[in-house]
Amino acid sequence: MSAISGALVMRAQSPVRRWLRRHGWTYAVWILLLVLVAYYATLIPRFGGFQVASIVNNGTPFVFLAVAQAVIVIAGGIDLGVGSMAILTSVTAAQLMEGQPFAVTLLIAAGLVLAAAAINAGVGWIINKSRVPDIVITLGSLYVFQGMALAVLPNPGGGTSEGFRYLFTGSTRGIGANPWPAIALISVTVLALAWWLGKTRSGLSLYAVGSAKTPAYLSGIRASRVKVLSYAVGGGFAAMAGLALTAIAGRGNATSFGGNLTLNSVAAIVLGGVALTGGIGSVIAVIPAGLILFFLSPILTAMGVDPNRAQVVQGVLIVVVMAITGLIEWRRQRRS
């Protein structure tokens, strides 16, 4: 509602304002991440490659999951099932990859990403077909995937190849001082995604459907196909998050609840400036947002704050960010 009226009555603006309006949030989140890292560096006695690597590597699953959620929310949906999809992928990978050589694990990983995309496309199809709200159907898929994960691997276990662990963590043991493989992996996949979303016809249709479904449909976009597409891409990125989890831990664990991962991804996209109403947001801004959410607890620990308080601070931070954006939006509506 507000997105539509905001677009229709947009007034002539100075280029600076317009640039700020379009990209301000993205830069702000990146700057916030850098400020936090700089602050963190002053807090701990030794800050170096190891610390950076630790943040990047352990934050990778959260980043991928946040990106998965972002794609789906931009197209006007929301997927509560991404967290358990990541866990399902993670345990299946751990189960299949144990004792396999690097080349085989790579093939398995590729297969799993495609399979997750196909399964999640099915979720999108069900949403179209049933016309039940996304949040309800994906509440169901959250449980179904979690159950499937438990069926695949009832007890924590499985394994993967050393090369595969290196691919995600820069180390054959999962811990190391090398953030570059993870950075490369995130940059390549998310930049490709951002290019697709921003520069191609099919990618832009996600924004069109997310911001105004009926006009998009009337102007010739097949809205139901776009929904399926967004869920497929989201499923693929959720699978990447799952693969990262397996690579970091070296095993799979289906007993951790995917719902918590999902909730984290929703918080991350909100911090990243993606509107939950759809049609607004950038996946580039979601990368630092996912890292910041993961990164808050080490910072607060370094500050000498009880780690449990980190959760409190994180919650308050998210609410404050949302309240500020809400007030900005409210003022904008009042002025126009």
């Binding site: 709200p133 959250l142 159950g147 918080a267 409190v312 919650g315 609410v319 949302m322 809400g326």
Partner: protein, 341 residues
Amino acid sequence: MAKAAQIVSADVQTVPPAGTGDRPARSPVVAYLIAHPHLVLVAVLIILILVTSVVEPNYLSVTGLRNSALFAAPIGVLAAAQTILMLTGGIDLSAAMIATGAAYVAANQSPEGAVIAIGGGLLVGVLAGAANGVGVGVFRVNPLIMTLAMSGILLGLFTTWAQTIFSGSTRMGDFVRTLGGGSFFGGRIPWAVVVWAVLSLGVIYMLRYSGFGRNLYALGDNPQAARLSGTRSWQVLIVVYTIAGLLGAIAGLLLGGRVGAVDLQLANVFLLPSVAAAVIGGTSIFGGVGTYSGTILGALILGVLQSLLTFLGSGQATQQILYGSIVIGLSWLYTRIAAEQ
């Protein structure tokens, strides 16, 4: 869109709702069921009870049904919170954490007497609910995010407090234990079900007959129109979130009383079932549509289902897959029926 709607409605005509037999669509029976969608839920509930009693003949007894009711009561109360919030277009993802926190405080204060214990527990719900209401109503934070953040805040606070101001006993006092797990009338009727029934009457009365209840529907149906016709939405939202917090706290007390000892994971597993119960009962997550009587049926269905799965001896994996499928299947069925109306 119009074409899509035609296609869907055409499908509905050829697929009769489950549980109505193999009659052709548009027969008087089907038409009647479409006009009274709650009957479908009752049918699903009866079929589930029958299936369960086939699997375990002893189920159709006082004890068997009592166990289902005991399981359903906390979900039903939590789902009451979800229902009144979903009517306004909101949701409470902090309900489970509010319940846990309330139970924790009540257990911790049990040595001080039942009144202080219960009062302390309910206070947690009121405060957290009011904070949610201020966030959503005044600062216009998206309800999903506001309550999600509240859930994290409460978890953090209680984890800290469990070692400081609330360290000590986590055993629930006898009075609350009786309320949550005890029964009367020769062990036939659980107290928890009585509490649930009383609360249900209150919630149904509020939604059907009070001006406040109508405000909830109005706000969820069309916030602009509600505002223009004089509803102060922020006040309504603060009150409804506070009531939801209170209901969450009561659910926590019932649950804590049933389990006996409290930890910080107590109510976690009940969050999504509480949303599911409201959804199964036909409350729209977008607001403006729904009744609490539907939610009660939803909670009962989930309670019987839990018994069935326990009797089948199915593991966690099967339970969750089945559970998710039922949420999807029933909401699908329900949406089709609603579309026919």
